[in-house]
Amino acid sequence: MSVILVFLQKAIAQGVCMLFGASGEIMTEKSGNLNLGIPGIMYMGGIAGLMGAFFYEGAVENPSPVIGLIVSAICAILCAGLGGLIYSVLTVTLRANQNVVGLALTTFGVGFGNFFGGSVSKLAGGVGQISVATTASAYQAKVPLISEIPFIGPVLFSNGVLTYVAVALAISLAYFLKKTRTGLNLRAVGESPATADAAGINVNRYKYVATVLGAAIAGLGGLNFVMEYLGGTWTNDCIGDRGWLAIAIVIFAVWNPINVIWGSFLFGALSILYLYVPGLNRGSQELFKMLPYLVTILVLIFTSFRNKRETQPPASLGVAYFREER
């Protein structure tokens, strides 16, 4: 029983990072921008939050965990948003190909994260690894009292604050897209920008805002990973492929933020399953780690088989909108 408890809890912890990434990507994709830079943006968010906390903890005598949390969250959001801005300027204003820009942004972001993650401590005149234990403790704090409830407590309430932020964000994103006027406009931009333009919607502004906000949300995923999962440190390539999996989850969830919530936790579970299946040796563990990717491939194939209208991507996803070429 306790093994299952630990497994569920770890699966959720693993999934949160991807939940942020996937929510951000849905927001972006609803505007018709297919941002393949999300993996890089998650690195940017993660390292910026880490650096913010690092310099804050270095500058103050007695760093407070809560202020560290606020500072690092702001840094992560700003830096990740900057990544989204670079993407928007290049694809919306300068009309460059979305895939190419996204891949370049990922190269840049991953390098950005790894470079500063490996060197910031040295650049600041210190030695060894970057570590912000005080701030990380704020991120890792469990919900008091109710986390003591048997079974439900450890599984649902023993995660850090960002876990609940992630779920709340996904739910409010679903509400925003389905029930609000602005959400409707945003979806219109993604489905048919020419129609939206004719209806007086400022297509470029929607694309910019959705992409930058989406990137900022994805950046929180990177922040969650370095703070809660790694405990305020950095290892090379630490976020790994979670950004790509986040993009895959968007397809898995057929562009519905509610599906993203359980989809992310399912992917989290798949990615750690190899630790909990008994009787695996080192070799077969490696084969088990393929599961999330194989599942993604199966989902891709499956969704392409059945062409239901509700399960389709935004109609003009990945297609740039040029007003004069209507």
Binding site: K122, A248, T296, L300
Partner: protein, 372 residues
Amino acid sequence: MAQANMTKVQEPFVRMVKRDTISMQKAWAIRLIAVLLSLIVCAIAIVPITHQNPVEIYAGIVSGAVGNSRRIWVSIRELLMLLTIAVGLTPAFKMKFWNVGAEGQILMGGLASAALMIYAGNAMPNWLLLIVIFIASAAAGLIWGIIPAIFKAYFKTNETLFTLMMNYVAMQIITFCIVFWENPKGSNTVGIINSKTQAGWFPSIFGNAYVLNLIVVLLITVVMSIYMKYSKQGYEIAVVGESESTARYAGINVKKVIIRTMALSGAICGVAGSIIVSGASHTISTSTAGGRGFTAIIVAWMSKFNPLAMILVSAFLVFMQEGSIEIATQFGLNKNASDIITGIILFFLIGCEFFINYELKFRKKHEEEVQA
């Protein structure tokens, strides 16, 4: 325009006009400006980190990339690898098939050649082994490329994410093999394969280890540019890329073209893997492809599939990468600095295409006064 006089429409400060044509010189001048701007931004990024002046930094980059003959050959080796992969990706992208799976195809090719080096190292003479390695690695890359292509052709399965996921499956297969091949035991790395016998290594020609790489890569590049430009199949690829409906109307078997082209693209990427493993690193790990599969996509796209432009763009990127790695090591920083530099350069190169395709027209003060 008559209305403009009556209601006095506010002309925007700047508007863009699509260019019909642009002279070769002007296009290259714009690209040169973008390159210069990117160099300035790179310098701005490096200066606060190293506290050197920009001139010293660029002197350092030049010396790091081409400072002595060993560095020159390392740069050439890197250039050749990037070029092979970009050439391999060209047919797929010309067909508008987003093959983001070059990394996986390279890894599978590398895996095939590593396996042959380990298991068949002493079974045959080296020249024969190398031929077998080329064939096997091409086949491995081909299989990895053709799987997403079949699904794309028959079920329109999204190829971008499919090929991407294939990269990670390939990585896991490699870590799986490393468990059996690790040397020394417990190190979790394969180490240099056949370091004594050098079986399956590219032989030195004229006393240089990388001349064979050069020959193979140039051969692939020349053959592929002829294939793309003058063969019927190359033409079919271009038509399918422009419009699938047109292709179908013209009697081209679109499914067949998609699968055949991806087979070719995957095979070349597989050979690139063997060039990396047999011709350079002589080992295999999950970072054997090292992101080159992604950088090569951008190289191929920006060069508009022109082989000469591809050489130029790859040379510039490799030059900056090798140079910045050198600077980073000098200051004891980590070598991911080169990815940041690559990213900045790519942003500028991608962005400048806009100014080649469009012309900015600024509002003219005088005209408006006259009209008013």
